[in-house]
Point group: C3
Chain length 160, copies 3
Amino acid sequence: MIEPSQWLRTHAEQLGVKQENINSASVDLELGGEVIEVRPNGQRITYHLAPGEEFIFEPGSLYIAHSEEYTRCPTSHAWMLNLKSSTGRKGLNHLHAGWGDPGFEGQVTYELVAHVPVTFRRGQRIVQLVYMRLTEPTAEPYGGQSSHYQGQIGATEARQ
Amino acid sequence: MIEPSQWLRTHAEQLGVKQENINSASVDLELGGEVIEVRPNGQRITYHLAPGEEFIFEPGSLYIAHSEEYTRCPTSHAWMLNLKSSTGRKGLNHLHAGWGDPGFEGQVTYELVAHVPVTFRRGQRIVQLVYMRLTEPTAEPYGGQSSHYQGQIGATEARQ
Amino acid sequence: MIEPSQWLRTHAEQLGVKQENINSASVDLELGGEVIEVRPNGQRITYHLAPGEEFIFEPGSLYIAHSEEYTRCPTSHAWMLNLKSSTGRKGLNHLHAGWGDPGFEGQVTYELVAHVPVTFRRGQRIVQLVYMRLTEPTAEPYGGQSSHYQGQIGATEARQ
């Protein structure tokens, strides 16, 4: 079952999300300050954005970025990441990933590609999380031995 | 929790979906009549399809399209949009968006890109909605002040 | 509601998934042995991989692939497919599809595109399934007359 706005408002501080970004049954996350551009030839360029600074995502590259927020998922829930509708309509896509394990904490990594040039500012709302209740808290929370991304900060590439 | 076929059959008229498009635990939506092609250089071309008319989605452009159906989501539920499996196997993709807020009504906007040329007819089933129950009805249904897409008709580009 | 690790461990054999691939609230699936490359001009090339053999997904083509596992979904549940986070961070995408109907059984078809060259081995974990409980078992399980993909084996293209 999906958690509505009132649950998000009550738990926002614990979850690490912002009150002003809460929707009917989801909460928006913002674009953080580090972006890694990966070109098809494998070349990497890292950008650091000041608060409010604009960045243009161009077609042809993969971009590894991250949330401004440092999030924490309780062991009783998981989250699903979607693009905000407006982000998709502008032509910026997120790869078909984005599952927050119960127990995960960290900044959320984004994997983005652009189908037309799309401009975003650091701090602008870009994706949304939907919180889903588990049938019971997991017996194996994220954060154990093979949890490669626990506590991640910044744009974090694959670790396995 | 996910609603099964029998719930969809009982609520189809209220939801604005078609009985003949109901699956085991989802319902298909059809391709509507307006398609906006956005080329990488920003050029826009709008197409109007007659019922049953074919349209070819070509690689390299972003397409903003919409459902034939005018849908309504109750405040006790939200929906998730997926491609129909056959649409994906043909190489037509939908961006990683498609979350129906409790309280939203309107035609559903599609953001599509093709990896090979793919032909669809207006009225052909193209995506599916999965209805998920909330833990309780939302206190802040979609449709308030910052609800940019409430009641949208046709292919609707980003409004913010 | 989402099923946690302990439910996945209890039902792994029935679901057709591997104990060693279970996460906090999802289970990974592996890359199977058949891959169909579909080029933008429509040309198709079929590859057969030996266990452990490497395959390079290259930008520009669509790849139809499948799970090593033969899965079965109970009529009380459905599943959602996501990329594993590490797969997305490497730049390999799955199209916005992947919904397992209650009652479906078969190998799971993958529709993949690469934004940079990405290497995977047959048997390597590539996507994950999240099992969601229905509000009640579906009255119309997958497997009836218009169920085009029931029992599918190998990389299976669109059948409608």
